[in-house]
Symmetry: C2
Subunit: 141 residues, 2 copies
Protein backbone atom coordinates (compact mmCIF):
# COMPACT_ATOMS: atom_id res chain seq x y z
CA UNK A 1 0.00 0.00 0.00
CA UNK A 2 1.25 3.49 -0.82
CA UNK A 3 3.68 4.91 1.71
CA UNK A 4 3.92 8.19 -0.09
CA UNK A 5 1.71 10.31 2.17
CA UNK A 6 3.55 13.24 3.68
CA UNK A 7 2.16 15.93 5.93
CA UNK A 8 3.20 19.55 5.95
CA UNK A 9 3.01 21.23 9.37
CA UNK A 10 1.18 24.56 9.05
CA UNK A 11 1.99 26.01 12.46
CA UNK A 12 2.44 25.24 16.13
CA UNK A 13 0.21 24.99 19.19
CA UNK A 14 1.14 26.82 22.38
CA UNK A 15 0.04 25.29 25.68
CA UNK A 16 1.34 25.53 29.26
CA UNK A 17 2.59 21.91 29.09
CA UNK A 18 6.34 21.38 28.78
CA UNK A 19 6.45 17.64 29.59
CA UNK A 20 4.19 14.71 28.75
CA UNK A 21 3.56 14.23 32.47
CA UNK A 22 2.04 17.72 32.63
CA UNK A 23 -0.35 17.14 29.73
CA UNK A 24 -3.94 16.38 30.65
CA UNK A 25 -5.32 13.03 29.46
CA UNK A 26 -7.81 14.82 27.20
CA UNK A 27 -8.78 18.43 26.44
CA UNK A 28 -10.41 19.67 29.66
CA UNK A 29 -13.17 22.19 28.86
CA UNK A 30 -12.25 23.98 32.11
CA UNK A 31 -8.54 24.14 31.25
CA UNK A 32 -6.50 27.15 30.12
CA UNK A 33 -6.98 28.40 26.54
CA UNK A 34 -4.47 27.24 23.96
CA UNK A 35 -2.89 29.42 21.29
CA UNK A 36 -2.59 28.32 17.68
CA UNK A 37 0.20 30.05 15.77
CA UNK A 38 -0.47 29.58 12.07
CA UNK A 39 2.56 30.09 9.84
CA UNK A 40 2.24 33.48 8.12
CA UNK A 41 2.25 31.82 4.71
CA UNK A 42 -1.11 30.18 5.49
CA UNK A 43 -2.86 33.36 6.71
CA UNK A 44 -5.14 33.64 3.62
CA UNK A 45 -6.64 30.29 4.61
CA UNK A 46 -8.46 31.98 7.53
CA UNK A 47 -10.56 34.17 5.22
CA UNK A 48 -14.21 34.02 6.27
CA UNK A 49 -13.62 31.89 9.37
CA UNK A 50 -15.20 34.44 11.72
CA UNK A 51 -18.28 34.59 9.49
CA UNK A 52 -18.53 30.81 9.37
CA UNK A 53 -18.31 30.66 13.17
CA UNK A 54 -21.37 32.90 13.33
CA UNK A 55 -23.30 30.39 11.24
CA UNK A 56 -22.37 27.36 13.34
CA UNK A 57 -21.47 26.36 16.87
CA UNK A 58 -18.40 28.59 17.03
CA UNK A 59 -16.21 25.51 17.29
CA UNK A 60 -13.32 24.27 15.17
CA UNK A 61 -11.70 20.89 14.74
CA UNK A 62 -7.96 21.19 15.37
CA UNK A 63 -5.75 18.46 13.89
CA UNK A 64 -2.27 18.09 15.32
CA UNK A 65 0.57 15.61 15.41
CA UNK A 66 1.58 13.59 18.47
CA UNK A 67 5.21 13.33 17.37
CA UNK A 68 6.32 11.44 20.47
CA UNK A 69 3.65 8.76 20.33
CA UNK A 70 4.69 5.15 19.65
CA UNK A 71 3.20 4.05 16.32
CA UNK A 72 3.73 0.31 16.60
CA UNK A 73 1.22 -0.40 19.37
CA UNK A 74 -2.12 -1.98 18.47
CA UNK A 75 -3.31 -2.71 22.00
CA UNK A 76 -2.80 -0.35 24.90
CA UNK A 77 -3.64 -0.04 28.57
CA UNK A 78 -4.88 3.34 29.71
CA UNK A 79 -2.86 4.46 32.72
CA UNK A 80 -5.74 6.31 34.39
CA UNK A 81 -8.22 3.42 34.57
CA UNK A 82 -6.26 0.27 33.62
CA UNK A 83 -8.58 -0.63 30.73
CA UNK A 84 -6.85 -2.59 27.93
CA UNK A 85 -8.22 -2.06 24.44
CA UNK A 86 -7.25 -1.85 20.80
CA UNK A 87 -5.96 1.53 19.74
CA UNK A 88 -8.97 2.03 17.42
CA UNK A 89 -11.27 1.68 20.45
CA UNK A 90 -9.46 4.56 22.23
CA UNK A 91 -8.53 8.14 21.48
CA UNK A 92 -5.06 7.61 22.95
CA UNK A 93 -2.10 9.18 21.09
CA UNK A 94 -0.63 5.68 20.66
CA UNK A 95 -1.76 4.64 17.16
CA UNK A 96 -0.28 3.97 13.71
CA UNK A 97 -1.01 7.53 12.54
CA UNK A 98 -0.97 9.68 15.69
CA UNK A 99 -3.17 12.49 14.41
CA UNK A 100 -5.17 14.18 17.17
CA UNK A 101 -8.59 15.66 16.39
CA UNK A 102 -10.04 17.96 19.06
CA UNK A 103 -13.17 20.07 18.75
CA UNK A 104 -12.77 23.30 20.73
CA UNK A 105 -14.41 26.73 20.84
CA UNK A 106 -12.67 29.41 18.78
CA UNK A 107 -12.32 32.30 21.23
CA UNK A 108 -10.56 34.93 19.11
CA UNK A 109 -8.45 35.52 16.02
CA UNK A 110 -5.62 38.07 15.97
CA UNK A 111 -3.77 37.94 12.66
CA UNK A 112 -2.27 34.47 12.38
CA UNK A 113 -2.89 33.61 16.06
CA UNK A 114 -6.07 31.81 17.13
CA UNK A 115 -7.01 31.51 20.79
CA UNK A 116 -9.06 28.37 21.39
CA UNK A 117 -10.36 26.23 24.22
CA UNK A 118 -7.97 24.03 26.17
CA UNK A 119 -5.98 21.39 24.34
CA UNK A 120 -4.06 18.43 25.75
CA UNK A 121 -0.78 18.61 23.88
CA UNK A 122 2.76 19.69 24.57
CA UNK A 123 3.80 23.28 23.96
CA UNK A 124 5.14 23.51 20.42
CA UNK A 125 3.05 20.66 18.99
CA UNK A 126 2.86 20.69 15.18
CA UNK A 127 -0.43 21.90 13.71
CA UNK A 128 -1.81 19.96 10.72
CA UNK A 129 -5.22 21.45 9.95
CA UNK A 130 -8.08 23.63 11.14
CA UNK A 131 -11.66 22.86 10.05
CA UNK A 132 -14.88 24.55 11.12
CA UNK A 133 -17.18 22.18 13.00
CA UNK A 134 -19.83 20.79 10.66
CA UNK A 135 -23.20 22.47 10.44
CA UNK A 136 -25.90 20.42 12.10
CA UNK A 137 -28.07 19.31 9.17
CA UNK A 138 -27.31 18.29 6.58
CA UNK A 139 -23.82 17.42 7.77
CA UNK A 140 -21.58 19.48 5.44
CA UNK A 141 -18.10 18.31 4.78
Amino acid sequence: MSDDIRLTPIGRIRTPYRTLAECPKWPDPEGPPARIELLEAYLPGLLGLTQRMGETSGEIDVLYWFDRAPRDLLISTRPHDGITRGVFAMRSPHRPNPIAVSRVPLLSIDGNVLTVGALDCLDGTLLLDIKPAPRDEPHPH
Copy 2:
Protein backbone atom coordinates in the same frame (compact mmCIF):
# COMPACT_ATOMS: atom_id res chain seq x y z
CA MET B 1 9.60 23.38 10.05
CA SER B 2 9.90 19.59 10.07
CA ASP B 3 8.80 17.92 6.87
CA ASP B 4 9.38 14.47 8.26
CA ILE B 5 5.78 13.46 8.96
CA ARG B 6 4.75 10.38 7.05
CA LEU B 7 1.44 8.60 7.21
CA THR B 8 0.89 4.87 6.93
CA PRO B 9 -2.39 3.84 5.29
CA ILE B 10 -4.09 1.20 7.44
CA GLY B 11 -6.77 0.10 4.97
CA ARG B 12 -9.20 1.25 2.31
CA ILE B 13 -12.73 2.60 2.21
CA ARG B 14 -15.28 1.08 -0.14
CA THR B 15 -18.03 3.32 -1.48
CA PRO B 16 -20.23 3.27 -4.60
CA TYR B 17 -18.39 6.30 -6.03
CA ARG B 18 -15.95 5.66 -8.89
CA THR B 19 -15.44 9.27 -10.01
CA LEU B 20 -15.13 12.57 -8.15
CA ALA B 21 -18.25 13.76 -9.96
CA GLU B 22 -20.23 10.94 -8.33
CA CYS B 23 -19.05 11.75 -4.81
CA PRO B 24 -21.50 13.67 -2.64
CA LYS B 25 -20.33 17.05 -1.33
CA TRP B 26 -20.42 15.74 2.24
CA PRO B 27 -21.39 12.51 3.99
CA ASP B 28 -25.19 12.30 3.55
CA PRO B 29 -26.77 10.61 6.59
CA GLU B 30 -29.36 9.13 4.19
CA GLY B 31 -26.72 7.77 1.81
CA PRO B 32 -25.63 4.16 1.31
CA PRO B 33 -23.42 2.58 4.01
CA ALA B 34 -19.68 2.56 3.40
CA ARG B 35 -17.37 -0.37 4.07
CA ILE B 36 -14.05 0.04 5.81
CA GLU B 37 -11.53 -2.69 5.03
CA LEU B 38 -8.84 -2.60 7.68
CA LEU B 39 -5.59 -4.32 6.69
CA GLU B 40 -5.41 -7.68 8.49
CA ALA B 41 -2.22 -6.63 10.27
CA TYR B 42 -4.16 -3.99 12.21
CA LEU B 43 -7.00 -6.27 13.33
CA PRO B 44 -5.89 -6.35 17.01
CA GLY B 45 -6.50 -2.58 17.11
CA LEU B 46 -10.28 -3.22 17.05
CA LEU B 47 -10.22 -5.00 20.42
CA GLY B 48 -12.99 -3.66 22.65
CA LEU B 49 -14.49 -1.34 20.01
CA THR B 50 -17.94 -2.94 20.25
CA GLN B 51 -17.90 -2.51 24.02
CA ARG B 52 -16.81 1.10 23.73
CA MET B 53 -19.66 1.77 21.28
CA GLY B 54 -22.09 0.57 23.93
CA GLU B 55 -20.75 3.20 26.32
CA THR B 56 -21.01 6.09 23.89
CA SER B 57 -23.02 7.30 20.93
CA GLY B 58 -22.15 4.32 18.72
CA GLU B 59 -20.26 6.63 16.38
CA ILE B 60 -16.67 6.64 15.17
CA ASP B 61 -14.46 9.29 13.65
CA VAL B 62 -13.04 8.01 10.37
CA LEU B 63 -9.87 9.71 9.09
CA TYR B 64 -9.00 9.27 5.44
CA TRP B 65 -6.81 10.78 2.77
CA PHE B 66 -8.09 12.84 -0.15
CA ASP B 67 -5.18 11.88 -2.39
CA ARG B 68 -6.47 13.79 -5.41
CA ALA B 69 -7.04 17.09 -3.62
CA PRO B 70 -4.89 20.09 -4.58
CA ARG B 71 -2.74 21.06 -1.58
CA ASP B 72 -1.58 24.47 -2.71
CA LEU B 73 -4.90 26.31 -2.51
CA LEU B 74 -5.54 28.63 0.43
CA ILE B 75 -8.75 30.21 -0.84
CA SER B 76 -11.45 28.25 -2.59
CA THR B 77 -14.91 28.77 -4.09
CA ARG B 78 -17.45 26.10 -3.28
CA PRO B 79 -19.06 24.92 -6.50
CA HIS B 80 -22.47 24.25 -4.96
CA ASP B 81 -23.10 27.74 -3.54
CA GLY B 82 -20.38 29.99 -4.98
CA ILE B 83 -19.09 31.10 -1.56
CA THR B 84 -15.38 32.02 -1.55
CA ARG B 85 -13.53 31.40 1.69
CA GLY B 86 -10.20 30.36 3.12
CA VAL B 87 -9.64 26.64 3.24
CA PHE B 88 -9.58 26.70 7.07
CA ALA B 89 -13.10 28.16 7.01
CA MET B 90 -14.38 25.19 4.98
CA ARG B 91 -14.33 21.41 5.22
CA SER B 92 -13.48 21.11 1.52
CA PRO B 93 -10.87 18.49 0.54
CA HIS B 94 -8.71 21.30 -0.89
CA ARG B 95 -6.25 22.08 1.92
CA PRO B 96 -2.55 21.77 2.72
CA ASN B 97 -3.05 18.45 4.52
CA PRO B 98 -6.14 16.88 2.93
CA ILE B 99 -7.15 14.67 5.85
CA ALA B 100 -10.90 14.07 6.04
CA VAL B 101 -12.57 13.57 9.43
CA SER B 102 -16.12 12.23 9.32
CA ARG B 103 -18.19 11.09 12.29
CA VAL B 104 -20.48 8.24 11.28
CA PRO B 105 -22.46 5.49 13.02
CA LEU B 106 -20.67 2.14 13.28
CA LEU B 107 -23.27 -0.33 11.98
CA SER B 108 -21.41 -3.64 12.24
CA ILE B 109 -18.01 -5.28 12.51
CA ASP B 110 -17.19 -8.53 10.70
CA GLY B 111 -13.54 -9.44 11.19
CA ASN B 112 -11.49 -6.66 9.65
CA VAL B 113 -14.48 -5.10 7.83
CA LEU B 114 -16.51 -2.32 9.42
CA THR B 115 -19.81 -1.20 7.94
CA VAL B 116 -20.48 2.45 8.71
CA GLY B 117 -22.80 5.27 7.73
CA ALA B 118 -22.40 6.93 4.36
CA LEU B 119 -19.09 8.58 3.48
CA ASP B 120 -18.30 11.04 0.69
CA CYS B 121 -15.10 9.62 -0.76
CA LEU B 122 -14.05 7.65 -3.80
CA ASP B 123 -14.07 3.87 -3.72
CA GLY B 124 -10.61 2.73 -2.62
CA THR B 125 -9.78 5.83 -0.56
CA LEU B 126 -6.90 5.28 1.86
CA LEU B 127 -7.87 4.89 5.52
CA LEU B 128 -5.69 6.67 8.10
CA ASP B 129 -7.36 6.14 11.47
CA ILE B 130 -10.48 5.11 13.36
CA LYS B 131 -11.32 6.72 16.70
CA PRO B 132 -14.40 6.22 18.87
CA ALA B 133 -16.43 9.41 19.21
CA PRO B 134 -15.61 11.15 22.49
CA ARG B 135 -17.75 10.52 25.53
CA ASP B 136 -19.93 13.48 26.36
CA GLU B 137 -18.46 14.73 29.63
CA PRO B 138 -15.70 15.04 30.42
CA HIS B 139 -14.49 15.02 26.85
CA PRO B 140 -12.03 12.08 26.80
CA HIS B 141 -9.30 12.07 24.26
